[in-house]
Amino acid sequence: MAGSPAEVTLTQRLLKGGHSGYAPWLDRRPSRDVIERIGLPALRSEEWRHTNVRRWYEAVLANGSSRAEEAAAIAAPAAIEVVDFASPRAAELAAAGPASVIDLASQPLAAVNALLLRAGAVVRAPSGIRSTEPVRIGALNGAFQHVLVHVEAGASLTLIEEPSAFTHRVIEATVAEAGHFCHWRRQARSAERECSLVAVRLQAGANYALAQTSRGADLRRNDIRITLAGSGAEATVVGAWRLHGHDHLDNQVAISHAEAGGFSRQTYRGIAADSARAVLYGRIHIAAGANQTDAALSTKNLLASDAAQVFAKPELEIHASDVQCRHGATVGTLDDAAMHYMRSRGIGEEAARELLLAGFLREAIADAEGAELVGLGA
């Protein structure tokens, strides 16, 4: 077995150990197989180029799989069914619902998550239910967490992930025909090492909107995988981040258009100060036959210091001919002319800088709470 000591120890532990007894209905064999066959992500693999995943393995070994003294906190409106993985009803819902949308082979950390899982919930928006009141996910009682979301045909669901701690979190969602899933993620600044996976599959005419505001962490990695599996599906991803100190944030987003007439938009605005490091990989994959696809990605980044780093890379893979696909990526610094203009109106340098940074992020994120979280409260 190759790899770093932490990697070897973790792999051995995962393969040797039985599960905790939590959610016994969960089939962990595919996860075990993947770890056995493929192993953990290699340190030098392209997808992990910018994030030293060894440091996450160390955190897994150090934290164990439980996180003490954090009671699960999910608030939901009556029309939405929320059940803990520990309840037999969760097994029923999981069995009755669509198959898993996670590709474990490309997401081995999700396999680690499954083997160490201590906290999970199914969130179901029943067919035709249009709920405006959000489901709020606060803390979940475990380092490894899985939230399974089923938005049934014609239903609509709003889910808010409040800032909370985890070592690995999976949000797995299926949105059936003409369903709507509105997803807010708020990530507060943290000294921890946190990885997450959002995997969403959209059926015909379904709609998914993700708005993610992030502060940095000692290590923070967000994998986001969205598949437009039915015709005319729509996905909108908006991301804003603001990093300081030694923060590390790695966003890996992939939107896959499998059927015709899909629409996707990705808009990112990020600020890195001090010696922080921000990564954004935004992929758009358009399958053969996914004609009349309209996809676009825009990422703008500001470096607020010489030592800050940003890696922003759009990646297109297009196998259909009749499509519209645009992308743009910029990395810049604060506009000196704008700074001077503001100062010439009596606004001090610090205040002027704050207003400029806030304005920059607000182009992506207009939501007040999200803006507050990234430190931009008006």
């Binding site: 503001m342 109106r345 009596g346 606004i347 340098e349 207003l355 304005g359």
Partner: protein, 250 residues
């Protein structure tokens, strides 16, 4: 003249080690409107920018005294808080920051400097709307990003709006008249005339005499090759309009 609101004396300014202003002198009293005219490249914007403290303009000798304060070591925001205002020749676009927020920040900074309470949101909005109305901009322009997508004329109106709102002691207007159609020119002129008072002063920097038909200056100065080469009353502007700048050279 020690009681001048602005006194610029033997000012030498370099940009990228290149001398641009070469011993420029001008004195403006409270209650006066002065026009500084001159051909393109004479150094008019350099004068305006160095007064406002724009980085990149090195004062190598001479002095700029504003209301008894030597401007040389003052930051741009300090100059603004002392009551100096520059209407930019090329106002800057700031997407994402609403005009309203920008103006509120400027007003709040000024209130704080004066040791006053910040105006309430309602009071501020009322004042901002009123100023916008006076320059013929709808309230919509207050919600939009600062100068974002504004036409040339709308940007100039927005500069005058800021002047009316901030009520500086000295307004330096750098080619605020250029690129305006006749309606916009009249709106801008009306704004300047409404602003004029015995306590403040205006320095109109312009290439053309046109604006001076509406805002009659007390003094007209001709700036050429970094110096004031001639000063006179408003009739000097008319002469320049007829004869151009060539006859003043040498």
């Amino acid at each position: 003249m020690s009681n001048a609101l602005l006194e610029v004396d033997s000012l030498h300014v370099e940009v990228d080690d290149k001398p641009i202003l070469k011993g420029l002198g001008i004195a403006v009293q409270a209650g006066e409107v002065h026009a500084v005219m001159g051909p393109n490249g004479a150094g008019k914007s350099t004068l305006a920018n160095v007064l406002a403290g724009r980085p990149g303009y090195a004062v190598t000798s001479g002095a700029m005294i504003f209301d008894g304060v030597d401007l040389a070591d003052r930051l741009p925001e300090e100059r603004a808080l002392l009551g100096l205002f520059l209407a930019f020749q090329y106002p800057v676009e700031i997407p994402g920051l609403s005009n309203m927020e920008f103006l509120k920040a400027a007003i709040d900074a000024r209130a704080k400097h004066a040791g006053l309470d910040e105006p309430s949101a309602a009071d501020f909005i009322k004042r901002a709307r009123e100023a916008a109305g006076r320059v013929g901009l709808s309230a919509d322009f207050l919600r939009r990003g600062v100068n974002e997508g504004f036409s040339g004329g709308e940007k100039k109106r927005n500069e005058i709006l800021q002047m009316l709102l901030l009520q500086p002691r000295l307004a330096v207007l750098d080619e605020t008249d250029s690129g305006l159609d006749i309606d916009a020119l009249q709106v801008v002129a009306a704004g300047i005339n409404a602003f004029r008072s015995a306590n403040n002063a205006v320095l109109l920097v312009t290439h053309y005499q046109r604006l001076l038909n509406y805002v009659v200056p007390d003094r007209v100065h001709v700036l050429a090759d970094g110096r004031i080469v001639r000063s006179g009353d408003h009739t000097l502007a008319e002469q320049l309009e007829q004869k151009g700048y060539g006859w003043l050279a040498s």
